[in-house]
Amino acid sequence: MVLALVEQEQGEPAETSLETLSFARELAADTDTDLAAVVFGEEASGTAGTLGEHGVSTVHHVTHDRLDGYAPQAWGESVAQLVETIDPGALLAPGSDRGHEVLSHAGATLDLPIAANCTTAEVQGATVDEQAAAVADGGTASDSGSSGAGAEWQVTRHRWGGSLVEHARLDAETKLVTAAEHEHPIEPAAEALEPAVESFEPSLDDSQFRVQVTRLEESDVEGVPLGEARVVVSGGRGVGSAEDFDQLEELADLLGGALGASRAAVNEGWRAHDDQIGLTGAKISPDIYIPCGISGAVQHMVGCKGAANILAINTDPEAAIMQKADYAVLGDLHEVVPALNEALRDEQ
């Protein structure tokens, strides 16, 4: 069995969790086994239908009278106890903050290694396609030389935010893996299942509840969050001052998008760190990204590689951003952006 941790967002499985299920379902098929999900929270039982559409045959619903909010160690311990009970070949989690945190705790409890931010996994050298071919030839995936999830896995994973790929071997009784975000397209299973929902009550003590969310402070920031915006405009060192970001902000507003910044601009104090796009800031995936006066260092580009299109505005034709962008305007953003704003206002 392959077990996947599924997080909830407003009563539905979170997008990154559905991505994880796509990845996990492939691995379950590779190892000729079932896909199960582990979920937390009262509302989670309502998601079984959706999970079934994504190929989950059993939903393990963790229930405990003290588990009403998020508690990282208690969640990790619960997942570890479930692993010890049902003995899955692999445990996958989304490559989200919580996914990494919960799996780290589970890994510590189980004393097992974790392969974080994986993009692919192959069982003992056989690729997904080769496994499928073996099945088509009349064998099963597990006949094709692998002993299923118990065998060694070859994985690829992100380093440097995805600007490097690491090929690695993972050999453990239970394979602990997080799925890199935006790398596993969400696809419902070919055949929807009606999963059995089983409740699982872990044995937890006070020490596991030393850390839990005590309250949520809602953000008063208005506008579209960077991570969800269809259009993102951003500025770097070339903007030159905090005031000159006004033009970029207007452009973002006119396009119904969000405004971001490079690390250089944040370090200059022109924008708050919350606006930073890159390795140690926000990861964006808009339809179009418009970087203005940004050179395109690796650390910046890993933050925007989810963008469908990049339109750079830059004075330097040799800047790295010119190779990464799909479209470019050669010129000073201080002249181009106001002209563009004016044209957009005329359009409206």
Binding site: A168, A172, V211, T280
Partner: protein
């Protein structure tokens, strides 16, 4: 309050990452070294917390002798002490790294030498997201990850994590492990004088014991993914490009 900041030496990569011929590492022969940005903030946070509450700040790394350079960066920022857990330069797994740090922190008497142990949320290079949590678990301490606001009041850390729509608030009794993200503070620049002084400061080195556990997760090789390095389609120069930009926004991307 004694505060520890744990950091990692990483290459200071630029616009393109080049690998060594055996594809085992980044070719750093033309690169300088630095530490992960989250960890620079861990150092700054350690200094600020000690400035506010008194005590001693310490910066620690596990790495080759050369990693002393990054410890001295911390000293120049005004951290009080530095410790090197010296390796031969090979990669240590998150688990063996965490075990070695836990051993060092526990000290010979078995007591934990610090009230607050700060880590970066994830390292810039390998980004395994685990070392802080595993150290906490090895030491039996509570741990909160991914923190961007931290206050300590009466022995309790009030830590906030950014989530969609706001911030989660955690209240954790010290001693505790907290992993931080860039943005929690603005790391200070060291003065030239402080850098000179840091160069003379003693950095004790210990040889850590390498303890793994069951199972293995090992690097086979690295690969620089092929990128589309074709030049961008130039829409024009200066404001004259505006009509072409509008066309792209309207017809190709359909956002207006």
């Amino acid at each position: 309050m004694d505060v520890l900041a744990c950091i990692k030496r990483v290459p200071d990569t630029g616009a393109k990452i080049v690998l060594t011929d055996d594809n085992q590492n980044i070719d750093a022969s033309n690169l300088g070294f630095t530490m992960s940005p989250h960890e620079e903030c861990a150092i700054e946070e350690a200094i600020q917390q000690v400035e506010e509450h008194g005590g001693t700040s310490t910066v620690l790394t596990l790495g080759p002798e050369e990693a002393t350079e990054q410890l001295r960066t911390g000293l120049a920022m005004q951290v009080d002490e530095a410790t090197l857990l010296q390796t031969e330069g090979e990669e240590w797994s998150p688990r063996s790294t965490a075990n070695a740090i836990a051993d060092a922190v526990r000290g010979d008497n078995g007591e934990i030498d610090h009230d607050l142990l700060l880590f970066g949320n994830e390292s810039a290079d390998t980004a395994n997201y685990q070392v802080g949590v595993r150290v906490a678990r090895e030491l039996g301490l509570p741990c909160v990850a991914g923190i961007k606001t931290l206050d300590v009041e009466d022995g309790t850390a009030i830590a906030k994590r950014e989530v969609s729509g706001g911030e989660e608030v955690y209240e954790v009794e010290l001693p505790a492990v907290i992993t931080v993200k860039e943005g929690i503070n603005e790391p200070r620049y060291a003065s030239m004088r402080a850098k000179m002084q840091a160069r003379r400061q003693e950095v004790p080195a210990k040889t850590p014991e390498h303890r793994e556990g069951p199972g293995a997760f090992e690097k086979v090789r690295l690969e620089a993914p092929e990128e589309d390095d074709s030049d961008a389609e130039i829409l024009g120069e200066g404001p004259d490009a505006v009509p072409n930009v509008l066309e792209v926004l309207r017809d190709d991307v359909e956002v207006i």
